[in-house]
Each structure stands twice: as C-alpha cells, then as structure tokens.
C-alpha cells in the first residue's frame, strides 16, 4: 500500500517537474557525452547536421531532417534524447510569439521618468 502511494505521488509530481524543465537541460558537466556522440545521435535520426553547439545546457543541433526540412533541436547532453525539435525557420519562433496574443508586462515598469503612473505597457505581436 505504501509503495502504491509513493508511486501515485511520484506520477503526480513528475509532469510538473517536466513542465518546469522547459527547454533547458540540467545535466552535470561530468555526464556530458562528447560532441561527436551528439552528431552521431543526430545522424542516426536521419538528420544532416550543419551546426552543433552547447546552448542552455543542451547540445543544440541545426541542420536538415530526412525530408530536407530545416530543423533546430536540443539534445539532452547525457542521454542524447531529443528535448525540443522545431521545423522550419518560422516555426523556430517561440510559441508565445505566434498569433495575435496581447500581453501586458507582468509587473510595474522600472521607475524612470519615461513611464507615467507606473502603468505597464500593453504589448502585441502581430
């Protein structure tokens, strides 16, 4: 019964942890696989690697997939599993950049004489 409760609790917490992880990787330096291994992993996925670099704690790969589409992907540097994959230049734009969503700055702007009454800007990306 105790084991069951622990399993349920773990399954409840894990999705939250994954959601919080975002697009960054959090792996200790000592567990990183070398660049060559990351290139090999990408090649095995059918990708043509044009550029690879460490970014946000991940291996970031730019190139083309098996269908010739431009891709940008992040690989977990320890497991070499795909963390994020985006196709095409326009699709590389963050999800929140899409559409016509209006956003308001989350808090008061800094106190400088440019802003009046501490009213945050209203921002829209069209």
């Amino acid at each position: 019964m105790k084991t069951l409760l622990i399993a349920v609790a773990t399954l409840t917490v894990l999705p939250t942890a994954w959601a919080l992880a975002g697009e960054d990787c959090h792996v200790g330096r000592g567990t990183w696989q070398p660049r060559e291994a990351a290139v090999q992993a990408a090649t095995e996925l059918g990708w043509q690697v044009e550029k690879i670099k460490a970014d946000d704690g991940c291996w970031e790969v730019k190139g083309r997939d098996a269908q010739g589409r431009r891709i940008k992907a992040k690989l977990d540097p320890a497991s070499l599993q795909v963390v994020t994959l985006r196709h095409g230049e326009r699709q590389e734009v963050r999800e929140r950049d899409r559409g016509n969503a209006t956003t308001v700055a989350p808090s008061s702007p800094p106190s400088n004489p440019l802003f009046q009454n501490g009213t945050p800007p209203v921002v829209r990306i069209n």
Partner: protein, 156 residues
C-alpha cells in the same frame, strides 16, 4: 533653456506622478523577412545630449543575449533592473511588435531620441537599427530601419 524645462518637467513627473502630463503612445516595429530566428529588440531613449534616459521595452527573454544589443548594453550597463517588468518574447521575422504605453509629454520636442537595437542568433548584430527623434511632427511617420527592422512608427 529648453532642456532645463524638460528636465524640470521630468523631475516633476517623478516627484508628483499624479500631476504629470502623459499621453498614450503606440510604438509599432515591423521586421523584415530576414530568414532567421526571432529577433531580440530593445527600445530605449536618449536625451538631447545623447545620454541614456531609460528603456521602454525588451523583446527577448534570455539575458545572455543582451550584450548583442550592444549600444543599449553599453548605455544601460547591462543592468537587468532597467528592464524589470518590461520584458517579453522575441519577435519573429516579418512580424510586428506593437507597444502601447503612457509616455511623459516632456519627452516630445525636447531633443529626445528613441532607439532600437536588434540582434538575431547566428546573424550580424544591429545596434541602432533605428533612431527616431521624438517630435510631434514625427507622429505617424514610418521610418525605415537599417537591417532587421523594415519600419518603425509611433502614433498618439
């Protein structure tokens, strides 16, 4: 004399914001289809002497890239406090960033200039992509940018 009056007005705005005159201004920045990742943009203002007066908006969330907005970074000392509460997402190629905010009246026709620095991953940085004098005569006038910005205009 004009700058003294402007400084006085700005000081008043700081001390007594309830009394300060302001007007809603919409800043519209439209990007070219430059064929790259989303652009980091920062909009900031300098005074008649070219001194940094403050930042209006930072489009782009990762501070490690801010040094590529080199004129702003130098002017603001890379201070994150300058953009606390006025930071949002980067802007995709071909898209428009529209910002509406209350700007102090004293900024207009007093020698202030609005600048935008732009940077795109793996592409050339573009400090001062636009530099537009804040004048009432400039309202509604589209101004072309130098590299990533197709046009910029402000409306009141």
């Amino acid at each position: 004399m004009k700058s003294i009056l402007a400084a006085l007005a700005l000081t008043t705005a700081l001390v007594a914001p309830g009394l300060a005159m302001a007007r809603p201004v919409t800043l519209t920045t439209t990007l070219n289809n430059y064929g790259g990742d989303g652009a980091y943009l920062v909009l900031y203002v300098t005074d008649a002497q070219g001194a940094y007066a403050g930042t209006l908006w930072m489009a782009g969330g990762k501070s490690k890239y801010y040094e590529h907005l080199s004129d702003w970074y130098r002017a603001a000392g890379g201070s994150l406090a300058q953009i606390d509460g006025i930071t949002g997402a980067s802007v995709g190629a071909g898209r428009s960033l529209e910002i509406t905010l209350d700007l102090a009246d004293a900024l207009f026709d007093a020698g202030y200039t609005l600048h935008a620095d732009a940077a795109v991953e793996d592409m050339r940085d573009s400090p001062n992509d636009i530099a537009v004098p804040l004048t009432t005569a400039g309202v509604g006038q589209a101004v072309p940018g130098r590299r990533y910005i197709a046009s910029f205009r402000f409306d009141m």
